[in-house]
Symmetry: C2
Subunit: 547 residues, 2 copies
């Protein structure tokens, strides 16, 4: 049991389960970069361990279709020298196939598995157990080998009244508990919330109530993958005689997949293209839009900036956030909301009405999971250190002996034998950046340079010196970028030129002829000069050309 | 009445009140930069208007000592060609004098004013009215001229049981109302919270309860300027027989100022220096620390990273956040909390116990203010567009005619005459950046360059060409910074060198000899090459040296 991602962080979930040298990988998730990971596009788990063990991988099993559980798959596959079989529920595999297609990975075998179905993967008998979450086809994975059964819950809640009418298979979970579960690896995301999470099906009536108080146009934003939420928005719109329009690429894509798999029903003639919106009176439409997290290029953000081709917000419009900000996105969401207020429209968020339900179970649900499955060992997953700790405390509270509850870290393998369980020697784990077309290590010097460039900019000095005596033979070129409040004609540039000449003269006088040394002196002299003048430390890059 | 800052934003509050050409400035605040304001140190209001009118400024009046109300003062003073008299409460002026001192502005006249005191400033009779807020000596400013009286509330709450026993002067506010208030400019910060804000003095007993459940060391973090909170932490520690230690520069500085003005009493022998902490058992100390906002160099952030010289956190310690994150700081605060959990310590926040009270009044208090002062006109201040709108709605709800409630913007003057009020032509307003020693406009190209550099890095190409025919006479130098995952020996660098030669050869063949043109071609050719290879758009800077 080796977690490669998702412990001590929220995102990039990936776990390796191993028995007698054979591996099943559960989930291959990604994370989005933090603001200090400048210019990075995506953050992936470090899968060095898998690359070296590609031959031993019997299967990759995906619990559900969210990016933090499947997003790294194309990158993992590209780095393995063979492609293991991939399994997941029908919606998961449909979303994954579309993703692999975008990455030009076309000949990958992806197998649909239904809830309750079992299949073999080397020494493991694998079974997917139906769970409820904020996306259909969310499964827990039970991996049975000779030593016992491990259950990885994936993301889940115990929704007693899910929108599609099919709750989590608590009966099978209880059966696993009666058979004797060896290890439970559970979702910790909401370990800090007391009680039970509200049911998704409670959101629909609240949306309808909220809609009924709006006299103008309604724009609802939510996660595009929350298929049941989209269904409930459609139902509420339908009840009030409004048309719906899907705005934003991923909203259209996911809704199409959801419709083709029967998860969404939209009555004939109710769906209106974004361009046709202008043909309907404001009070007759509901726009369903991406952008609930304030994402820079999302449809809603563009509306908020008065920059969307089909929807211009104005007084009388109501924008409804049927989602909460993921931690870290608060600023972007608040900015978007304030821009919408500035345009004169109204905004309703989850603070104003209960129009969202989390997809992750709260503390009582995590306890229920432990009580149902009666595991010998517990290793909380999917959470930052705070939530892993709180989840551990919950497991102990329902009777798991404290020594059997483990607080793991990415790269720390939990080894279980007949005689006990404990952490083994650390394996390589961490993060890997996707930046443009390349994938690489974060300790790459580029990021440190970017931080320096972004804070203070860069000075480039090109000096031309005589090959004979190292004297300057042409006025130095001074180029700067990202340095504030000075321009070409500025006095500081003239002074800098003089400083270059002085530094070169000093090197020449000391009979220094090696270019590296001359450049080194130039760098030190100019960096000091610049700091004294500007009290900033831009990067200083001298280039000496010998002629 | 010209707001230069604090409308449509939270921060940099600054308002110009003008009558017959004479000016009183109320507050000179700053803001901290957002993550996309790369490398910017501080954000100030644009005070061009004041620079041009320096001769007409009768006074600068400061409502209280928070940075978002006084922080821009040194920069304002440096840009005015004369220094107007400055007024504020005793704590405000003490903090401001220390700030001016750090900026080497020593000969500035700053006058202490007590609550209820009146003074003249040109055509205005000025009066400071005692309010309650999260810092002592917080005042509203009443400016009386022939036309009528304007009241700027500053930041306030109606705390009926403040820690120092002196509530807001509601009696004087009511009197102003009876005399007939012309214009009310009120704090909108908590216009979105229903009800009344809790009293600051309710925090102390909750802190003591929380402390009493901690068996090890306690670290409390709060705003260093929240003098009454520091007092309450000291009182709770004292009740439980613990010593206190002040950690963090601003915590020590503000507490010293607070003690010298009699706002904080610390019993003899109770205060322990950070270095002496090791001499006391964990259960006998309370550390009061800066860093409640997760600030990068703060004492608490350093503790969380195991990097503080005097306090190393460990299991058994409890860190208590007696503050909530200011919007935008959530990520930094959450990161700090999770690091503390990872070190094994416990964390208690305002989600776990009522150990914080906001310094800004909630909706019912804003309504009470309108009812007390009965203003003819209302112009909400200190809030983003959402809160300005909600504050407007509150004013209307208590009976101010909608046409008399104004939703302003920075730079939009509200002109009031005998016959009515309305917005006049827009004046210059906006923001100004402090970056190193310089102050300048945000439209400066540097920030755009920094954004480009921070996202994708830079390629610098130095080509040496013959003056005669423009042919390359030496291998081009290729230098790059902030470009990930390639190094000097990389194939892409060789290919880039070939692309430079090809571009130069093409220019030579076309008999292009002007350096600007050669550089232009180089830029276009290489930018395309780099994009095709890396799918990123680093800055491409060609430098052609002629020999």
């Amino acid at each position: 049991m080796l977690p490669l991602g998702g412990l001590g962080e929220i995102g990039k979930n990936m776990t390796v389960v191993e028995y007698e040298g054979r591996i099943v990988v559960v989930d291959t998730g990604l994370m989005f970069p933090t603001p200090d990971q400048l210019g990075v596009d995506l953050v992936l788990p470090d899968f060095t361990y898998l690359r070296e063990r590609a031959e031993d991988i019997e299967a990759i099993v995906l619990t559900h279709g969210h990016e933090d559980h499947v997003g790294a798959l194309p990158f993992v596959l590209r780095q393995l020298d063979r492609t293991p079989p991939i399994y997941g529920g029908p919606l998961t595999t449909a979303m994954v196939r579309s993703k692999l297609d975008e990455h030009h990975l076309r000949d990958v075998e992806v197998t649909d598995v239904k809830a309750g179905e079992k299949f073999d993967a080397g020494p493991f008998a694998v079974e997917l157990v139906k769970m409820t979450h904020s996306i259909p086809d969310a499964f827990a994975v039970a991996l049975k080998c000779e030593l016992g059964t491990t259950l990885l819950t994936g993301d889940y809640k115990f929704d007693q009244t899910p929108v599609d009418g099919v709750p989590a298979d608590v009966s099978r979970l209880a059966e696993l508990g009666r058979e004797g579960l060896l290890l439970l690896c559970g979702d910790s995301t909401n370990a800090d919330r007391p009680g039970m999470s509200p049911s998704e099906s409670g959101v629909g009536p609240r949306l309808e109530e909220t809609f009924s108080r709006c006299s103008g146009r309604i724009v609802v934003t939510s996660f595009a993958s929350n298929i049941h939420r989209v269904q409930q928005v459609v139902d509420a719109a339908s009840a009030l005689g409004r048309k719906v329009s899907l705005v934003g690429r991923s909203m259209r894509k996911n809704t199409n997949i959801g419709r083709s798999l029967g998860h969404i029903q939209i009555p004939e003639g109710m769906l209106v293209g974004p361009k046709e919106l202008q043909d309907f009176p404001d009070e007759k439409v509901v726009v369903i839009s991406t952008g609930s997290q304030g994402e820079p290029l999302s449809a809603l953000r563009r509306m908020a900036h008065g920059d969307h081709p089909n929807v211009s917000l104005h007084g009388g419009d109501t924008v409804i956030f049927s989602a909460t900000p993921i931690p870290g996105n608060e600023r972007a969401v608040n900015e978007t909301i304030d821009r919408i207020f500035h345009l004169g429209a109204d905004v309703i968020t989850t603070r104003d009405a209960p129009i969202h339900a989390s997809g992750h179970g709260y503390a009582e649900e995590l306890k229920l999971m432990v009580n149902l499955t009666k595991p010998r060992y517990v290793l909380p997953m999917h959470g930052d250190y705070k939530r892993l700790r709180l989840h551990s405390d919950l497991a102990k509270a329902v009777g798991v002996p404290p020594r059997n509850v483990f607080r793991g870290e990415n790269g720390l393998p939990l080894e279980i034998t007949e005689s006990g369980a404990g952490f083994a020697a650390r394996e390589q784990a961490g993060l890997v950046f996707v930046d443009g077309v390349d994938v690489g290590a974060p300790e790459d010097i580029a990021l440190r340079d970017r931080r320096m460039l972004s804070a203070d900019g860069i000075f480039i000095i090109v000096a031309t010196v005589s090959e004979q005596d190292g004297h300057s033979v042409a006025p130095p070129e001074i180029i700067f970028r990202g340095v504030p409040f000075i321009d070409e004609g500025d006095k500081v540039v003239d002074e800098l030129r003089e400083a270059v000449d002085a530094s070169l003269a000093r090197s020449a006088k000391e009979e220094i002829s090696e270019i590296d040394l001359i450049q080194g002196h130039l760098h030190d002299d100019l960096a000091e000069f610049v700091y004294n003048r500007l009290k900033k430390r831009p990067m200083v890059l001298p280039v000496v050309v010998e002629v």
